[in-house]
């Protein structure tokens, strides 16, 4: 009997944590749409949404309501199953990556230690890469199922972009792994907690990762998959109402997760300077640490938006040239130098 007993508290704790992380990423994604419009407006000397609620804070709800009530059209010649599968995959994949990010240190509640990480797996980064590369299927299936040549072309373009930029991203991360010696995100954060942040050791690696993250999230200047004004509408050309909303929403979740990921891997995650010399209780530190990670993440999201309203979009050949001829060699060189330094330190 005892052998089969299940630790119910553990399951409840994890279910609560998963729901909390999911709700957090959905809310952040919702308000990113509001933030995006606000930042865009401010940069263009406008005010932005300010009619729905105070400061326009109810705008995301209004947008969501609009998307739900819009007419839903599935083209006659589209493959219905695939057509619905596309946005579902995009949304699911976007939500899955949050599982391995350590949102904070351990909390001690009534004698139980609760980790603020859904799964501390020792292959954390590999998991993220595996899941993120699944995102291509969402885009490919979305474009293919529409049975429209333009969507298909756009989705091929998008898929090749995402695959091209995944290479330098992985190479940049390998250099980081050489330094930290672990794939677990929790351990990477803990190493930064007692030392310097990884961005100090890996400035070039961070920069490459940042550029690739922009490309992976389809954000400007890499937003070819949805360049509606000079290319066609993109892989979601045929989509309407909430299915389009899912594609766009998944993109904002991706932006949030990749911001959190960059904060975790290069900017100390939930660690903040002098956190161990403040003399606060561990629980207090965990809460503060979560806030620190959240602020870092929001700053990255702001960076995404800031860049969007500054830099124009790449041409497709420029995009490919940057990925293959600049970023991959740079990432390789970065890896080589890091390896040499690590080797020199050992001897």
């Amino acid at each position: 009997m005892t052998l089969l007993s299940i630790d119910w508290f553990f399951i409840i704790e994890k279910v609560l944590l998963i729901s909390a992380v999911l709700v957090l990423s959905l809310v952040v994604a919702m308000y990113s749409t509001w933030g995006e419009r606000k930042v865009a407006a401010w940069i263009q000397d406008r005010l932005g949404p300010n009619r729905a609620g105070p400061m326009g804070l109810l705008q995301p709800l209004a947008d969501g309501g609009k998307l739900f009530f819009k007419e839903e059209i599935i083209p006659t010649h589209a493959n219905r199953f695939m057509f619905i599968l596309g946005p579902s995959i995009a949304m699911m994949v976007a939500c899955m990556t949050s599982a391995v990010i350590p949102w904070g240190d351990n909390l001690t509640i009534a004698g139980r230690t609760v980790s603020l990480q859904v799964a501390d797996v020792n292959i954390g980064i590999l998991f993220i890469f595996g899941v993120v590369s699944m995102g291509v299927y969402g885009i490919m299936i979305g474009g293919w199922a529409s049975n429209n040549k333009y969507s298909l072309l756009a989705s091929v373009r998008a898929a090749s972009q995402i695959i091209s930029y995944e290479l330098p991203m992985g190479l940049a991360l390998i250099a980081l792994l050489m330094l930290t010696g672990t794939l677990s995100l929790k351990e990477i954060v803990e190493a930064q907690r007692h030392g310097l942040w990884n961005v100090v050791y890996q400035p070039l690696g961070f920069f490459i990762f940042l550029i690739c993250a922009f490309a992976e999230c389809n954000r400007t200047p890499f937003d070819l998959p949805e360049a509606e004004n000079e290319l066609n509408g993109g892989y979601h050309l045929e989509y309407s109402s909430m299915k389009l909303g899912f594609f766009l929403f998944a993109e904002y979740i991706n932006m949030f997760i990749s911001s959190a990921l960059m904060a975790t891997m290069y900017f100390g995650g939930y660690a903040f300077p002098f956190m161990d010399s403040l003399g606060l209780s561990p629980n207090m530190l965990t809460v503060l640490g979560f806030l620190a990670l959240f602020i870092k993440t929001l700053l990255f999201i702001f960076l995404f938006m800031w860049v969007r309203w500054t830099i124009p979009r790449f041409r497709y050949d420029q995009l490919m040239r940057l990925g293959w001829k600049v970023l991959i060699p740079l990432a390789l060189a970065n890896m080589l130098i890091t390896g040499a330094v690590v080797l020199m330190r050992q001897h």
Partner: protein
């Protein structure tokens, strides 16, 4: 060739130097510019709450003026209609009857006075042509309407309120 303005600039077609090829300084410069705009004064006017002042020479919707005692100034001379390049103004004259001296200033008055706001080009010639200072252009727009006939403004739309009866 001589430049027409002193703003002409020769295009630099030299190949980019290494620093320029890095793009990073240019991107940083661009981002500092956008960041500066984040804190600049916004050009937006929150319209229904805040109305922007018109320029003093703005030519908006017409009004038919009255004199100090509230009598209509217009004598239906037709000069405004003649001056109108869009032929938007039509009127019919009538003779003042005894006992109507408090209504119309002169012996002749406009029984019907119409301006077609769809034709009007707001040039202000009517205002200039009027010898009696009767037609003026105010600082308001013609409000939207669902039907074309709604844009034909009659006397009840154009006449300004009576200065003495206004308070009632």
């Amino acid at each position: 060739m001589q430049a027409l303005t002193n703003r002409a600039k020769a295009v630099d077609r030299r190949p980019m130097t290494f620093m320029e090829k890095l793009y990073i300084p240019a991107i940083a410069k661009g981002m500092s510019i956008t960041m500066k705009h984040l804190f600049q004064r916004k050009a937006t006017v929150s319209f229904p709450e805040k109305k922007r002042d018109f320029s003093p020479v703005f030519r908006g919707l017409h009004v038919l003026n009255r004199d100090e005692e509230g009598r209509e100034r217009c004598t239906a001379c037709g000069l405004c209609a003649v001056a109108c390049p869009a032929e938007a103004i039509t009127m019919e004259a009538a003779e003042r009857l005894p006992g109507e001296e408090n209504l119309y200033r002169e012996e002749k008055y406009a029984a019907k006075y119409e301006i077609n706001m769809l034709r009007c080009i707001f040039c202000g010639f009517c205002e200039e042509a009027c010898p009696k200072d009767a037609v003026y252009m105010s600082e308001t727009f013609a409000p939207a309407n669902y039907q074309r006939k709604g844009f034909i403004y009659g006397k009840d739309d154009l006449l300004i309120p009576h200065p003495k009866e206004q308070g009632k």
